[in-house]
Amino acid sequence: MKKQWLSNFILAGIIRFLLMNSEYQKVISDRVEVSTSLNSWKRVTEGVYLYNCGIDPYTGDLFHETPIGLYVFNFIQQHLSQWILFCLFVFTDLLTAVFLGLTAKQYATELVSKQKVEEKLCNENKETRNDASIVYTSMMYVSAGYLFNPYIILNCVGHTTTVFTNLLYSIALVSMTRSIFWNCLSISLLTLQGLYPVSLIMPAIIYITHSNSVKRKRNIINYVMVFASIITTLFGISYYIMGSWSFLWSTLGFILTVPDLRPNVGLYWYFFTEVFEHFRWLFIASFQINVSLLYIVPLALRLRHDPMLLAFSYLAVTAIFKSYPCIGDVGFYMSLLPLWKHLFQYTQQGFIVGCFMLFCTVFAPTVWYQWIYSRSANANFYFGVTLAFAIAQIFLLTDILFASVKHEFAVRHGINKDISGNTAKLLLE
């Protein structure tokens, strides 16, 4: 088992390293699906150069990383040679996979223990499972899903800063039950950089409420306090690095007001090139409310028993609707899918979603070539593909959520799929 685990990591590392050293690296890093204005390494290089020249990188419209990011990348670019840089990207990706594997392990143990309790209650499912193997497969699949996910591989080869964002995400997930400090630190770093991940404090708080019923209130207040203090400190550090608040407009403001309409896999660019100028703010407000506010409370209420699924759905919603999405975000939440292996029997749209995903992934570069290079297609073609891609992701997310509802029902009522000899089907209306 260890052997397989290790060989997976080595193979994934080799694939990434080979691709990085091939001629395709440049092509991949220039793809709009991989590099957006928020995460492209080119822009980071530019920003670091400006910073070293003593020019505030945030005055232009180039650099949108946080000042802390700027500081770190400055260090990386000044002191690391290209080979070590490559290694750093690969290593970060592998580390993310390890953390995701740990998350899966944790979640699977939690799930198994939960199931045992439920089995005692219902006396219905008398299956003797091999718990260890369930935990192991879940761990294996999640890490393999991250290591060999083509989206993630492209993301890593394209040298985007999403590689580091994903590491922070995985730290946030794995530390959700373990350490308040690491959890708060990673979430606040993510918030500083991308704003939307702030919703992840919700599942974290739910975990806290689950864990200890005696000191519940105190723990929640404790968590919020730690989070607030860390994020203010981070803002303070950022201010200290830059010496002004100009970075706020270039990072958070840039995410919220969407001034850069370069095409990407998201839905904003086309819509805001088409919309009339005086409706712009109305639609920006409604789009942003859609991604950041609308789903938080309803999903939290519904999924309060399963915070990991809640975190997953927040991640998915963000990756679909955020202002500058890239395939690195999509790949991250997709690699978490094996966590819900037990829900797969309740899903319905697996085939359709799979076909759609494959189709869009292959079709997007094709249509892009025709639009940009040979000028025989136009922006509508590419937008159509991104729209289909978003729809496929929405299908996937909804399918998983409905499956979880059905699963809950099935567990609670000890579902017997047979009703007088025929297979019963759950209707949800």
Partner: protein, 630 residues
Amino acid sequence: MGLLTDPRAGSGKIIKFLLKWERPLCFFLYISGIVWILLLALPIFNDNTYFSENALLPGLVTKESNLEQTTKQYYTHLINEMKRYPDVMPYAWLAAKLNQLHLDVFTHNFTLIYPFQEQQFTGQNIYGIIRAPRAASTEAIVVSVPFRPIHSIYLDTAPSIALLLAFAKFCRKQKYWAKDIIFLITEHEQLGIQAWLDAYHGVTSGNGGVLISGDLPGRAGSIQTAINLELHSMKIASIDVKIEGLNGRLPNLDLFNLAQNMIAKEGIRQSFQRRFDVKYKNKFKNWWYHFNTLLMMITSQATGIPTGNHGLFHRFGIEAITLEGFEKPGQQSSDGNFYQVGRIVESIVRSLNNLLERFHQSYFFYLLPSTDTYISIGLYIRSLILIIGGIFVKAFSMWQRLQVSASTEDKKNTVVKQSKDDGFDIGVITSEILWAHICGVAIATSPFALTYVGKKMDFRTEDSIYFGFVAITILTLMWPFYSRRQIKYKNAALICVIALVELGTVLMCIAMHNFSLALLAAVIYVPHVFILPIMPKQNFTKFHRMLSFGWISLHPFMIASLIIMCYTYVNFSSDSLPLILFRGYRAIKQAFVFSIMDSMIYGNWLYNVTISTMFPIWFLFWNILCSNIL
């Protein structure tokens, strides 16, 4: 949201229907796709062409040119010059003539390093630019002619060079040009134009280090459109408009219409695919004629090889066509009619001069059954959608069947096998698919290795590539027998589903670039895919053997060879059979080399795409067809 929440959408009546009628439905879709493409040639099903771009103002200018005499003078001089230097282009003479007209004249040198033998070929293009008197040099129109020496195997183009010079002389005096006009004479057919375009845009389109285009000493604005002239005689009876470009790209339909209209207006017969517009009274005959024209366009587009020098412009977003003029067979050229031909060129170029934007109004994706009707993408894509729809229906029903079998299995062996027989063996499936694709990519890059080995054994390039491919074909055919594998039914079925989905996706993507190629591939491959029997415990029956044999002939190399053989047979049907076979054999050898060369020099992706996508799909099916399914 009904679609998402309603479970009846999941496995309701539709799915039962699909599962029950899967095979007939697939074939029904396939046949209706074919019928649809047949119907498209009917005049009722296609529209008359029209001008979408207002700014063209076709035929509204007063034409002033009379190029007959000047063309004749240039022609006689040129012929003398060409006789003095029968094998090379008379660079000095051409440059001098263009210089006399006070154009900005430049020469462009290029080098081809022949990839597999390290030989070098050089060539020169000559071009002169008329700077627009009415605008800054921001936009340009190209008028080009390929130069062909007297001993060339292709038809002579000296009259078009004479016309080009005469037209340049005429243009020099006019004040109304709003775009630069580049008069370009290229050498070595498509190599010259490719090198010139690469140099003009500062890029390398093919593989690096093969065609070295260098830099241009002088440039005009960004090129909007290009007209390529191939007039074969001084007395032109008919003009054929050629449109198919590299990788099946077509120019904007407006440009094609413009040319056809102007030709008709000057009273010269216009044709498309060398076929005139003939209207039969008999409806069937009429359809048959149109359908043949359509089919010729489809086959020539599918190869992805440009039919003329215009085809290489398309990649850069430049709309371009070739006007090929023929004399009437049997009639000697006593007196020319370059008065009319000159006016055709003049009116086309003046219309292009009127353009305010690039061509963008009319269709880029179309098929033509005659010179004055067209079939838009909205109509023709349906046939392919129907055929590909069949593939997805097949894949979906296979998938559904897997789901059903999985759930029944679960019920039977509830306890022990549950964790073991949980689902598919993901490792086996991914490795199978991965290896097939790695093989595809390896074969696509194999020519280098093959020629390297061939050189050691003193083979010619053609031979080493051909025999290498034969060896590869035999190896891939033998592979499943060599490694007699056993594969579980479920895994086999899932591999099939994935391969089917991949086939559908690949065909659709190819269709976006080169519809004809996708259509032909779909028509050939899809029915075989439909009848593939993937069942547990299959025994090798007669039907199965026949099917395997059919599938062998669909191996990309096999099918290419078969097509070339048929083509040779059609072209040389009077020869004896051994001679035809020999000719076919030589043609196959050359075709393989040419397709690889094309991909390296021009960036033609026919070879690369078929080998790196169609081959893996073929190989996946072949493996499953030959392995024991448990």
